[in-house]
């Protein structure tokens, strides 16, 4: 080991000293910044990840829609299924209905799903808590959890459904009877908006309610894991007949504004929290500067012993680097440690403040998700180490500028 690296180490961790106080404070400052970065970026990333998962789980990787109805769903499905990379296609029809239970009307969104294909694209089974998807037929309905809770209905209860088409008939003084459907299941995606106001019926029931005949509104498509959805989307668009007026769009494209905001938020948080590291770096600079002034004579001695100004400078730069590396390691340990117990802390907090329900309502999650992308982790590590090494540059420059003679004369 070159002498200047050895000396840098020893100045931070002097021989015979059990606890290097100055070093510990500097390292702690950097570590706090890193820990905060790791926790915030992980939680941001976790929310983002969760939201992406929900989007894909509820609309597939790619969605095909047209300007109007798709009258030949079978033919289109056949075409799309043959596109390389596509693993499943399922048609859907959607709308709004009036749902009545115990004379209490509500107006949820409704999705008609094709029972033979839905499982190829959307893992609904995973989200159905009461009952099973298998119990869904043309006379039954699946409610989202919040909706079921708000009207007080449960599996086995009967609800009345009326569609706008039927209400239209009312205008013409025609008699109509609402469809009576039995609740066969309750689903919960974990996303408050979807859980509060969606109901699922079979595609056939939906076509009946809306008078669609055999037509559908569009298709959800699932692709091979790991493939770029945009690439497959282009292939699907190439395969779709131009006259059909249909267009495939990837989930990223469909939600691009939302995803952009998500990314922007994360970047802003990153930059803001990085300033904590910068502030910590300033304190590293000032403590190293003090050490340069305090050690003026020893720096002169290093020259007398045969050290060059460049090596003396490296000695102080390396101290900045060492503080940066130690701070990063400690910060990662703090950060990941905190993430490990984040849900315990959250639950304790909500229990103490009785805010569990409010939390779920406003943040749509009952657990704090965390996901740190390897790229983000690397960015945190690299920027911290670069910043703290830069913190050593001013002291290093000061030390290198000291003339040995003057330093030795310094009493």
């Amino acid at each position: 080991m070159p002498w200047y690296l050895y000396l840098a180490l020893k100045q931070l961790f002097p021989t015979g000293k059990k606890f290097p106080f100055f070093t510990a404070i500097s390292v702690l400052g950097v570590a706090l910044g890193v820990a905060l970065l790791v926790v915030s970026i992980s939680v941001m990333g976790g929310f983002g990840h969760e939201i992406r998962r929900m989007i894909v789980d509820t609309q597939g990787d790619v969605q095909i829609r047209g300007s109007g109805l798709v009258n030949n769903p079978k033919a289109i499905m056949g075409l799309v299924a043959k596109v390389p990379g596509v693993t499943g296609v399922t048609p859907f029809a959607e709308g709004v209905v009036m749902l009545e239970y115990n004379r209490k009307p509500i107006f949820p969104g409704i999705q008609g799903i094709d029972l033979t294909h839905i499982n190829d694209v959307i893992p609904l089974t995973r989200y159905i808590h009461n009952g099973t998807l298998g119990d869904l037929d043309d006379d039954t309905i699946i409610l989202s959890s919040q909706l079921a809770y708000s009207i007080g209905a449960n599996v086995g209860d009967k609800v009345q459904i009326s569609s706008p088409l039927q209400l239209e008939k009312l205008k013409n003084d025609e008699v109509f009877l609402p469809r009576e459907l039995t609740i066969s299941g309750i689903f919960e995606i974990g996303h408050q908006q979807l859980d509060s106001s969606t109901v699922l019926v079979t595609l056939r029931r939906m076509q009946d309610l809306y008078g669609l005949g055999n037509a559908v509104h569009g298709f959800d498509v699932k692709i091979v894991d790991g493939l770029d959805p945009d690439v497959v989307t282009r292939r699907i668009n190439a395969a779709l007949p131009p006259a059909s007026g249909l267009e495939a769009r990837s989930w990223m494209e469909l939600n691009q504004d939302f995803l952009f905001v998500l990314q922007l938020e994360k970047n802003l948080i990153f930059i803001l929290l990085l300033f904590i590291v910068v502030v910590a770096a300033f304190s590293v600079t000032s403590s190293l500067l003090i050490s340069v002034v305090r050690k003026t004579r020893e720096i002169g001695l290093l020259g007398a012993l045969g050290g060059s100004p460049r090596e003396v400078a490296l000695c102080f730069c390396f101290q900045g680097l060492l503080i940066g590396v130690s701070g990063t390691v400690c910060g990662l340990a703090f950060g990941f440690g905190f993430l490990h117990v984040r849900n315990d802390i959250l639950h304790l907090f909500t229990k103490l403040t009785g805010s569990q329900e409010a939390l779920e309502r406003f943040y749509q999650f009952s657990n704090v998700p965390a996901y740190l992308q390897p790229g983000d982790l690397l960015l945190i590590i690299a920027s911290t180490i670069v910043i703290s090494t830069m913190a050593g540059i001013i002291p290093a420059w000061r030390a290198a500028r000291l003339k040995p003679v003057e330093a030795l004369r310094n009493e």
Binding site: M1, G306, P404
Partner: protein, 220 residues
Amino acid sequence: MSNVILEARALRKTYLSGDRRLEVLNDVAMTVARGESVSIRGESGSGKSTLLHLLAGLDQPDAGEVLWAGSTDTGTGRRAKFLGMVFQSFYLIPELDALENVVMAMRMVGPVGSAERDRAKAMLARVGLAERAHHVPAHLSGGERQRVAVARALINSPQLILADEPTGNLDEKTGDAVIALLLQLCAETQTALVLVTHNAAHAAKTSRSLLMHNGALNTA
């Protein structure tokens, strides 16, 4: 001339303090042969430290030149190997224990392994500090610290030792012991010594005594 370790030719050094020019060294010349010990005395402010810094290559003269074993290269690259220095204030590195302080000088010239460490231990034993190897400077007496500094100056087997009032901060008895040790070690290893001192008795022990006066160096 291969026997001349150190040569100074027509050294001139002037300091500007305010608008006054202070001629500290005025045409100073000296030669030191291999293994020779030379003492320099002179009143305070006469320029002894200034001369020593020039001889060590730590400062540049306004005129004249310094030759180390016949070469004008007195740069950092050569210094660690060619010369060792001892100062009035001992300048040990406070974060390192006695042994590591000696080893630090070895790190300046090359990688350090267990052989080097053993050599440093032997050198500490040679200056009578075998038991103190793992004490930090703060836990050593002044005399002990100066002996560590002597060990550090000698560890790279230099050809020249420059000592600037090495006993200035020591009591008389301790000072005598340090000088005796320094002279003995230099004699044993055939190392040349330039000793700046105020002490006539110490100066008398060297093979040649010089006097610094009015910017010139004369035989005492």
